[in-house]
Structures are given as structure tokens and as C-alpha cells.
Amino acid sequence: MKAEFKAKKLEILKMHIDVIREAFKQAFAPDRVTVEYPRERKKFPPNFRGLIFCEREKCISCFRCAHICPANAIQIYFHDKAWPGIDYTKCIFCHFCVDSCPTGALRATKIHDVAFATMDEMKLRATQTTKPPEVFREDSVTVDYSVDERGWSLVRVKERDELVVEAPPPRLKRRVSYCADPESCLGCRLCVEYCPSDAISVDRKANKLRILEEKCTGCGICVRNCPMKVLELREVR
């Protein structure tokens, strides 16, 4: 397909007129697309990748979010249990962490406009990530784009858009650690130390290792750190 441009003198004049006609047409009937931000807010789809918050109870402190984060923005803080805090100076909102969280504890919101006073305030500790960041909302109108062959126009609806997306149904069933090949176990008891919820215990006298299903949260740290790779996660029937 050839893309070339031939124009005789007369056409130049016609083009001038086109330009002027277009300018005047826009001057009188501009198809503006500005969303006056603080007073209007653009409606984003539910899968929008905004700021992230973590539901403390659902978190099984499996460190997957901290492992996968390409920007090392997630740090796990230890209080009564271990759950992540997010450093928004580094976070690039790729939401690999939200996708890696097995229990769906990390949840995305549609909030993208939080302003922090100083840099170290942006490093949210775990206690600060448990609830969605509260945003000072001045908007009374939500704007959405409607497109059809006639063109693109803004639809303004007089209601506030709900910024916290309700959690999608948890996808993975509960999983529990299970030793697939007890004869290969070195008996090094590293899994006992790694387990954040003391689900694996050892009986010193009888030299027995025991996994308590009800305590195991399925975080998988023991599976990752077993030197002989004999432990694995198995779905509870």
C-alpha cells in the first residue's frame, strides 16, 4: 500500500480552508475530553491496578509477595503474625504480588491518587497496609467514556464510584504441607524452625516429626526450604 502525497496549487488553498473550517468548528462545538479531576473522577474498571492493601486475617505469611516483587517494594513485618508492608517509593503497580497471593489477602483498589508528605511516609509499614488508604474525596460526578461509530463522548453520572473493589472469590482450596517421601528425610528439623505457625513439631525422645493439619496454613516455606525437597503442598479434601 503506497503512502504518498500529491497536491496541486489549488488543493493547497482547499487545505487551508479545511484547517480554518476545522478550527472554527472546534471553536464552536469542541468535543472536549477533559475530566475536571478533583470534582469529577474517571470510572476505572474493577481490574484497575491501584494501591494495594492486605487483609491481615487471610494472610498466611508465605512471603510469596515479597519474593515475586520485581522492585523489592514489599517487606514483611513481624508483630503477632507476619504480613507485608509496601514501600510505595519503589512499587511499580505491576500487581505480581496480588496475582501471587494464594489466599487473595492482597487486594487491589482503584485508588491511584494518594499524596504523601515525605518520602519515608511512603514506606507503609504492615500496620498501615491493613485497610485501604482513605482518600479525601471531593468528586460528586463519575465520568465514563462511551464510544461508538459516531465518536467518543464523556458520560457523566452523578454518583460516587466505589474505590475498593470487592475481593474476587478465592481460587485455590486450602493446602497443607505433606511429606511425600519420609525415608529421604534427613531429620534436620529445619522445617520446624521455618514454620511461622508451628504446624510441624518434633518429639525429641521418640525422634518423630509431626505435621498438624489444623495449624498448617499452607504457606509453603517449609516446602521451599527442605534440603531434600521431600515436603509438598497437598489440597485438603
Binding site: 480554518i20 478550527a23 472546534q26 471553536a27 472536549r32
Partner: protein, 364 residues
């Protein structure tokens, strides 16, 4: 009879009479000192130069045109333009805000610049901008009444580019040099057709006196000599470096040309220079082509009718012209010169021919 009575007598001789506010004026005249001030303000030449087609209107015009141009360009570009300065008026006092900002901003004079010229030139640039105002008549409200007002006006007007070149030289920066050289080149390119177009209109009306020009314009001059009107408009664009010819201050190439080193109040003055030049040229345009201050008169307004008509017509012309900023890209300097010397010069000579033919024996 001391000086004051003499002054009062001169002022009372040539006072504006506006029926609408006459009672108030009479009442004010009784107050001893205030009457002198009121008399001065309402004295016709003073009123012409300072108030109506003069300084006060220029200030208001500046506020209006900067805001209007940005709003219009924004409208064409699918956006909203200045808004947050004053929400209820949707950004109306943006120009005032800019002005104040420049006023309080520090005017830095960098080391290599020629300090005295660098600071004084933007102020000196105002002389050629404000002197022509005195020559502009509006009905019987006129600064200096001379039969040669138009050529004098053009002469003073053509001093402005010289100050801009001097500003460029004084800032002693590479970009400023290139900017002022381009200003010089453009100045030659548009000044000749501009003057020829004006002369053709003088031929047409038979005399260089604006009064004669306005009386003879039963049909507006633009229709009499459309070619001259076109040439006048295009050279106005080139003179005030409006967009297709915004070459001296091409921000992308030479970062705002001669005015690159300026900041603070000096930058404010310099940036406003182009707009005032546009105002002056469109005043001349209105007188020559749109039949100046003639228009249906409102009795109650009396003398102020003419200046009002003149200013309104000028503002309309400028408002239409400011749409050009959002329509065109910038020509290269040699393209602009080639365009200026070939097409515009040719058209202006045609316009001169029409002017001479139409105004053969002493104007139409």
C-alpha cells in the same frame, strides 16, 4: 488668574460631554480640588490618550486577550484552559494572576548580559508602543489632531522591532543572538508590504487623515480594497510573530528567542510587548478597513460612543486573529522570508494599484 484657573479654563473648553454621567460630573465640579482632577480626566485629549483608546483600555485589553487566547486555543484543542485560578469565573483572571506573579518574581540579570541595556530596554520598548496611541482619533476624542496621523503612526510603530533586536543583543546569549537576527530578517520582510498596504489605503481615501478615511468609508475599506486588507492581516501576523510566523521566539528551536534570558517583571513587560503591538496594528486596521468609529450612536453616551465603537471593533478583530495560534505550525525562516518577499509583496503592489485606480482623482 493663576496657573490653576488657566488649566481649568483649558480643560473646560474641550471637555467630554456624556449625557449619561453629566449630572454626576456637574456635582463633582463643585468640589474645589476634585473638579480639577475630574476636568483633567474628562479633557478630551487626556481622555483619548489615557482612558479610552489609550492606557486603561490597553490594560483591560491585555487581561482580556491573554485569557481569551488561552481559553480559545484550549477549546480548539479539546481541553479546558485556565480554570483553577478563580473557579466561579472559570479562570477569568488568569492574566492578572500571571501579571502579579511576574511582578513579584525576581528579575535575574545574568553575568554576561549588558546590565544597563538589559534592564532599561524592555521599558524603553514601551515608548514606540505608547506614542502612536496619541495619534489615534476616535470621533472628536483625539490626542493630537494632525492630517498626517497614519504615516506618523506607522513610523512610530516600526520602531518596535529595533528595540526587540537591541534586547536580543543585550542579553548576550547564543539563542538571543539567533532570535534577534531572525527578528531583523522578519522585520524587513513584513514592514515593506505593511507600509505599501497602508499607503494604498491612503491613496484610496485621498488623504492621510484618519478623519477623512473614516468619513469616506460608507462601505468598509476591506470591501473597497480586499487585497490590501489581506496583506495587512498577514503582515500583522508576521509583525507580532503570531503562529505561522512565530520564528523569532520559536520556543522549540531557540527557547523563546531574544527574550530567553528575561525573568520576573522584565519578562512580563517583554512578553506583553507583542500583544500591545497587535492592539495598535488592529486599531490602524479598524480605522483603515472597518470604518473606524462609525456605527449607530447611542445618544445617552454622547462623546464616548466613538471610542467605544473603535475599541469594540478592534477587540473583535484581535479575537478572530487569535484563533490562528491553534491552527498553524511554524514556518522556517527562509520559507517565511520567501513567502513574505514573493507573495505578500506582489499582493501589496496589486493593492497599491487598486488603491491608486480607485482613488484616482482625490479619493473615492
Amino acid at each position: 488668574m493663576n496657573m490653576l484657573e488657566f488649566a481649568m479654563q483649558v480643560f473646560r473648553a474641550n471637555m467630554m460631554d456624556i449625557p449619561l454621567i453629566n449630572p454626576i460630573v456637574e456635582e463633582l465640579m463643585s468640589v474645589p480640588w476634585l473638579n480639577l482632577v475630574v476636568a483633567l480626566i474628562l479633557w478630551r485629549p487626556f481622555f483619548a490618550v489615557v482612558v479610552m483608546p489609550g492606557l486603561v483600555v490597553i490594560m483591560l485589553y491585555l487581561l482580556y486577550i491573554i485569557w481569551f487566547e488561552r481559553k480559545l486555543t484550549a477549546r480548539i484543542q479539546w481541553r479546558v484552559g485556565p480554570l483553577e485560578v478563580f473557579r466561579p469565573l472559570r479562570g477569568a483572571i488568569q492574566a492578572l494572576a500571571d501579571g502579579l506573579r511576574y511582578f513579584f518574581q525576581e528579575s535575574i540579570v545574568h553575568r554576561e548580559a549588558h546590565r544597563p541595556y538589559f534592564v532599561q530596554l524592555p521599558i524603553l520598548a514601551f515608548i514606540p508602543v505608547l506614542l502612536p496611541i496619541a495619534l489615534i482619533p476616535a470621533g472628536n476624542v483625539v490626542g493630537i489632531k494632525t492630517p498626517y496621523a497614519i504615516p506618523l503612526f506607522i513610523a512610530l510603530l516600526s520602531l518596535i522591532p529595533i528595540t526587540i533586536i537591541a534586547i536580543g543583543w543585550a542579553s548576550n546569549s547564543r539563542f538571543a543572538f539567533i532570535g534577534s537576527v531572525r527578528e531583523a530578517l522578519m522585520y524587513v520582510a513584513y514592514e515593506i508590504p505593511f507600509i505599501i498596504a497602508a499607503i494604498s489605503m491612503i491613496y484610496l481615501y485621498g488623504s492621510a487623515d484618519p478623519y477623512v478615511a473614516v468619513e469616506k468609508q460608507t462601505i468598509p475599506g476591506a470591501l473597497l480594497n480586499p487585497v490590501a486588507c489581506l496583506v495587512f492581516l498577514i503582515s500583522m501576523l508576521m509583525a507580532t510573530s503570531r503562529l505561522p510566523f512565530e520564528i523569532p521566539e520559536a520556543d522549540q528551536e531557540i527557547a523563546f528567542g531574544p527574550f530567553v534570558e528575561y525573568s520576573g517583571m522584565l519578562f512580563g513587560l517583554v512578553m506583553v510587548l507583542a500583544y500591545e503591538k497587535l492592539y495598535l496594528m488592529s486599531l490602524l486596521f479598524t480605522i483603515l478597513f472597518l470604518a473606524g468609529w462609525s456605527g449607530p450612536q447611542l445618544a445617552v453616551l454622547g462623546d464616548i460612543n466613538a471610542p467605544l465603537w473603535l475599541v469594540v471593533k478592534t477587540l473583535i478583530v484581535i479575537s478572530i486573529l487569535s484563533i490562528v495560534r491553534s491552527m498553524y505550525a511554524r514556518y522556517r525562516i527562509d520559507q517565511a522570508l520567501r513567502f513574505g518577499f514573493s507573495w505578500i509583496l506582489a499582493f501589496s503592489i496589486i493593492a497599491l494599484a487598486i488603491g491608486v485606480v480607485l482613488g484616482y482623482e482625490g479619493g473615492i
